[in-house]
Amino acid sequence: MSFREKIAWIAVLTTLAVWIYYFAAFWIDVFGRQLDGNQVLTRFLICMGISLVVMIGLNIATGVMTPKNIDTPPDELERQIEARADRIGFKLLEALVPLGLIGGLLATDTIRSAFPADPAGSVALIFANGILMAFVLTEVVRETVHIVSFRMTA
């Protein structure tokens, strides 16, 4: 398995583990009508911190095990795979962001009436997390394209 494929596996597994927990907890709060901005922010910061520490730690560990690969620039196959992953990821993001925004705009009144204590804050939180979810999903798809492409040439 190449160094860059290992990095892709680390990114996918870490992102899935951390952000599935985060979004599951967030949407459970939303559907349970118990949205607390401070709690969401704290959870977000913790998840972001864990994600960064785990990813950086594992990437460094992988690099130490194969030190030759750290400074090596990607070769032509790796650049091709990278470009394909970026292209697919960008197209997905292009589709998800407008879908999320339109869906969010259509659901604004429903959200406001569901959270009478803080309608504006709740709408903002749900919008922000919807956009964040689109970015996380895009990243998972991008890294999965890396893995699939590497496996197809292995």
Binding site: M1, S2, F3, E5, N69, T72, D75, E76, L77, E78, F150, M152, T153, A154
Partner: protein
């Protein structure tokens, strides 16, 4: 996805050059071992520049490394 209509003799050329490893070839042409393995197994068609580099390592013409499979292409 159908394999490219190109075959290659890299495995034999490596054998002829003192059982050169894929890693050694990869290091000499500035690629990863995985990419060399993909080229050798005909799962990836290298760029023209990489093809020339491989031929240069084995000190042969490019046509002795890569062969166009005419029938498969048609």
């Amino acid at each position: 996805m159908a394999p490219p209509p190109i075959s290659n003799s890299i495995r034999r050329l490596r054998f002829d050059h003192g059982e050169m490893t894929q890693q050694e070839l990869a290091d000499r042409i500035g690629m990863t071992r995985q990419t060399v393995a993909a080229i050798e197994q005909n799962k990836y068609s290298p760029s023209l520049e990489a093809a020339f580099r491989i031929a240069e390592v084995f000190e042969v013409e490019i046509g002795q490394v890569f062969q166009w499979k005419k029938a498969a292409a048609e």
